[in-house]
């Protein structure tokens, strides 16, 4: 388990306890956060769970795979160097404190 902090598009921070093995996306969906759509439910088919990973976490995450890199080219909001798809970020205890920010729009 790890605590993950999500920054909503309006700037509000929400911290959730996420079980190991679950994705940053699925916990955000279950909690009903505003800044995420995740229409495909984590199948990397829609690019609507886009988030910006805050320092210093980006380099502590496994790098995006080929599919994720391709999907990231097509996110609705601005793509930045710290853009990731939250469905591909799998929580483990070492990620305690991970902070991600949702963009202003997902589709």
């Amino acid at each position: 388990m790890a605590r993950v902090t999500y920054i909503e598009p309006d700037g509000r921070a929400v911290t959730l306890e996420v079980a190991t093995g679950h994705s940053v996306m699925s916990a955000a969906m279950e909690a009903g956060l505003e800044g995420i759509e995740a229409q495909c439910g984590g199948n990397m088919a829609c690019a609507t769970c886009h988030c910006y990973v805050q320092d210093p976490w980006l380099e502590r995450l496994p790098p995006p795979g080929e599919d994720e890199r391709l999907m990231l080219q097509n996110v609705a909001a601005e793509r930045r160097d710290n853009s990731r798809l939250s469905c591909q970020l799998i929580v483990r205890p070492e990620l305690e404190g991970l902070t991600v920010e949702f963009p202003e729009r997902q589709s």
């Binding site: 009903g32 495909c40 439910g41 984590g42 199948n43 097509n74």
Partner: protein, 415 residues
Amino acid sequence: MSSHAPIIIVGAGQAGVQIAESLRQEGYGGELLLIGEEPHPPYQRPPLSKKWLFDAGNPVSLAIRGAEALARRRIELKLEARVERLDRGSTTLELASGERLSYSRVALATGSLPRVLPVPGATLQGVLCLRGIADSAAIAAAIRRCASEQRPVVVIGGGFIGLEVAAGARKLGAAVTVLEGLPRLMSRVTAPIVSEAFEQLHRSHGVQFVFDAQVTELRGTREGHVAMVRTADGREFAAGCVVVGIGVTPDDRLAAEAGLPCERGIIVDECSRTADPMIVAAGDCTARRLADGRLLRLESVQNAVEQGKSAAAALMGRERPFYATPWFWSDQYDVKLQMAGLSQGYDQVIVRGDVAKPAFSAFYLRAGRLIAVDSLNRIPDHMLAKRLLDNDLSPTAEQIADAGFDLHSLVRQSA
């Protein structure tokens, strides 16, 4: 009708939860009741035939929303409740328990039901179809049993569900035969070149196919468990279990019995309104009337979400029509199929990419204009296709056929 009575949403799936949440976003402050038949809070169905089916050790969360998140938005969730009747005269819903609930307005999001095989033996034990979590769990258990007892899994239907289950069964180590009634796979929605790529893919993983197979009968053991599938040409296929994936029927029962116009689906307009101003409908249970009079039935998450948003707006007296390009996906082994647009009625198919790998896209044109794109392991093509179709842009056949032509340039030009 009491204006203090709640808005009641029948069906706690993707469309139902979307209607509820969108109503709150639209500013509805009254009571809101979301009724579901299953014991689970709203969850995603697509993984049930994919990862969730074969990957039990991996905690894939299916939740769309937890009960807490709904409670925070004052969305009351009533689970394991079946609505038997919609009485428009008294504006009440009658539950199977006998309870009657008054409504101010109703949203129907009842989804679809798997088509039942219309042959003798279809109700034997071990004959399974997929709708909910319990079905997926039963299918996974039956496949595991087949794998350990070395008995074959017979899948009836070579569409999305049948093929995804076949792939899952191979991953679980069971022998699989797919019986398809038509001459090729997914023939209703894809071109032959896509069907052939998937046939090849499944064959390379050891799946056996029988095409033009008309199933006439399922036979059971003395204990009533399915043991064999017979086809019209007299062939017999031993079966440890049978998974039936021959399509779905929109669940329009409540609406039809209440006298609302239905035609294999509750007929709605582009704003998800039914013929009754107090009633909207969204998702798989609908048949949407298009401007040209045709009825469009879509079974997809996107449609459930977008129609759900439209339905909520309509309940608040606002028009929010939805015209976005339909899209779908399927995962089979290591191939991701992504479809944008509707290819029915195409007169030309042009391929970009490597068919053998497979990593290619089939571009469908009608009268020289792009109408749909199926992409196999070609994610950028799919994302581009959605943009082209959303913006009514079409490359020419020559541009598509020219591998050196950058199709993205069309989007950039129009931006």
